[in-house]
Assembly symmetry: C2
């Protein structure tokens, strides 16, 4: 007998029929004697419908009221799923974020969980009931409704699993696990049986949409065994966990991630003196533009430096205009950039203990005549920026170079 927290996203509970299938799956687990807590999102489409209503009301909808509005989406799902469970003679009880006291700070629309009251859930579980909890929402000390931001239901599930010391937290979704790369780009992509938190974090931050970064961080911090599975297909999915074993059998690289939303900007020929980076990035940050990679090089001629950073493509024009306006103040020779680039990364805790990974990567890309525009590395990741026309070729080349198509599943 184990205690599981299951999380079903919006597409998994998007229709009456899907909710009934989810109920049947939960009942099977309960009938095996497991204790089950279920976290659900709003039915797919519902959140967008509510956001649209709000935008008709107010240009920038009041954030407190936005949370009151959006939290109804999950509340509908918990009631419907509980009914579906009861219809299968599986006792269930629904809880909103407020009822279970998922205490958050008061940052409306992007609140952080502070504490969870687990007493009520424990007593339900002891009575053999399934507890059905609204994801994505919480409540402040003053009783105001908050939401955790899009994808917050994953975070709710992990936080509950941590609080209840669950054996595993299952994230049910429309894919059956984490793959070595996106199968739409590389048909030989393989499902991973296991991946470490660190690798998963890098995968998520690089655009793999399977899990929210916050949820993975949370799971890593509280050592919650996280498993990604398909809602409607059989299979064990992918377990995300600490790499506690020796890495003898650890593959060098676990996955190839990529992100199409990149744009880079170079401030060329700025005086190489302290404070220049902050001078360049402050106005960018002041305009709420997020910066990803940052590289500073000394230029070949004179006492000048070239400063390059990447932003989301949507922010490219804006960032370029801001810097163009202050080019003279910065003493820069030129502001240039490109929004036709993508980021391709290899990820793996295995590279910690293996030299030559970078060389192998760059050689493979060079052999295909793919020009690398920027490189950035971390302990378990190497990312390169390349022209977007090379994306598929780069991903497939690296996937076979690191023998990811040969991983046993």
């Amino acid at each position: 007998m184990a205690l599981y927290v299951y999380k079903f996203g919006g597409t998994s509970v998007g229709t009456v029929e899907k909710i009934q299938k989810v109920a049947a799956k939960i009942k099977r687990a309960r009938d095996k004697g497991h204790q089950i807590v279920v976290v659900v999102s709003a039915m797919s489409g519902e959140t967008n419908r509510l956001v649209e209503l709000a935008q008709h009301m107010q240009l920038h909808p009041n954030e407190r009221e936005m949370d009151v509005l959006l939290s109804t989406g999950e509340q509908v799902t918990i009631a419907l799923l509980s009914m579906a469970l009861e219809a299968l003679e599986c006792e269930a009880r629904s809880y909103t974020g407020g009822q279970i006291k998922i205490l958050t700070d008061d940052s409306h629309t992007k609140a952080r969980i502070l504490k969870i009251d687990k007493e009520r859930l424990h007593s339900d579980l002891l009575e053999g009931k399934v507890a059905v909890v609204a994801g994505f929402q919480g409540v402040t000390n003053e009783g105001a409704i908050t939401t955790l931001g899009r994808g917050g239901s994953d975070t709710t599930a992990v936080a509950l699993a941590a609080a209840l010391e669950a054996d595993e937290c299952h994230i049910y979704t429309d894919v059956n696990g984490v793959y070595t790369t996106d199968p739409r780009v590389e048909p030989n992509a393989q499902k991973l049986d296991k991946i470490t938190f660190e690798e998963m974090l890098e995968m998520a931050s690089l655009g793999s949409k399977v899990l929210q970064i916050r949820a993975v961080e949370f799971a890593g911090k509280y050592n919650v065994a996280l498993r990604v599975l398909s809602s409607f297909e059989a299979g064990n999915g992918t377990l995300i966990t600490y790499d506690e074993e020796s890495n003898m059998e650890q593959p060098l690289i676990s996955g190839i991630a990529f992100n199409r939303d990149e744009a880079k900007i170079t401030v060329a020929g700025v005086p190489d003196r302290p404070g220049i980076a902050s001078k360049i990035l402050s106005p960018i940050a002041d305009n709420n533009i997020e910066v990803d990679m940052i590289i500073q090089n000394i230029a070949l001629e004179g006492n000048n430096a070239n400063f390059t950073f990447t932003v989301h493509r949507n922010d490219y024009d804006n960032a370029l205009a801001i810097l163009e306006n202050m080019r003279e103040a910065l003493g820069a020779k030129e502001i240039k950039g490109s929004n036709k680039i993508v980021k391709v990364s290899i990820i793996g805790v295995g590279m910690r203990s293996h030299a030559g990974v970078a060389k192998k990567m760059f050689t493979a890309l060079a052999n295909e005549n793919i020009n690398i525009e920027l490189i950035s590395t971390s302990e378990i990741k190497i990312s390169v920026l390349v022209h977007e026309k090379y994306l598929e070729l780069a991903v497939r080349t690296l996937h076979s170079t690191f023998e990811l198509d040969k991983i046993k599943t």
Copy 2:
């Protein structure tokens, strides 16, 4: 400066545009310096949509979960209306039934209000904020969400008005007040400026859909001045209040009410002995059939009685079958009935102090050759059952007989 509780029903907040109009109306009142608490229902159609979803899940949806589900309807409206008010620079704050602690018993889907926490509303009002409260819902001591049953938003509004000692409670609806009778039947029907609680109760119980009986009872009990107005037309509507003045100028009759859903059943020739009424009505009650009028007469021949009662037309066949089955056990000669009858009533506190009202009513109907099938009276009401073909004629005849078309408005 006054404190008002406004209530807007589902059709008044049925679209984005209507919610914006409601917001404009509220802002005008606030700008005059009034303190405003607003109670809203779910957008029209929303409750039906949710009920339908529930019925797909479970044949008889779990009532606790039904309340979790249905309460989202009002929660959406409070958020949207608060946003619309903020867009007009009218500070607002929304509250669910749970947040404002509208404490109820735990009779899910038909809970009764026990207590209201008025502190939070008071502090909002002192800060000049409009408080926007979800109607129809409350919370138990254990934190479970409850609903008050359909039309419960009226009750929420009156309960808040009582708790806050509001100057008036305005029920905004799609009619501009209470009429002497249904204008679709009698085009000369006049809007009443004033009506007493007792009269309004009789009007409501006889099918006038303007207000819920529970809300009128509540208002009467706590002496809340209740006003029925149109959401989108100008005008002072109808004030429902105690009849504290002398009745010198009180019209004899305030209104003609009618109900088309009537059916009558007669158990003829039963032995006239104690306990017979209970013997007849017990199996009816056991089948959850509600009985309205009850009349017992001694039959002309022998020691027998005729026992007649009315039920809702939907229950007619069922009630008839039940009694037919036990005719012999009752010792009755015959069970007969009709579902082609309607009830027409004249209502007025004025009739307390005026003799001859009944005679005037019966004479007027007789002059039109309308046969009266049953009569029942209360202190401020006389009801007759007539064949349904006479409904319009009876209503118009009584309307002019009691000079209701001459009431000044």
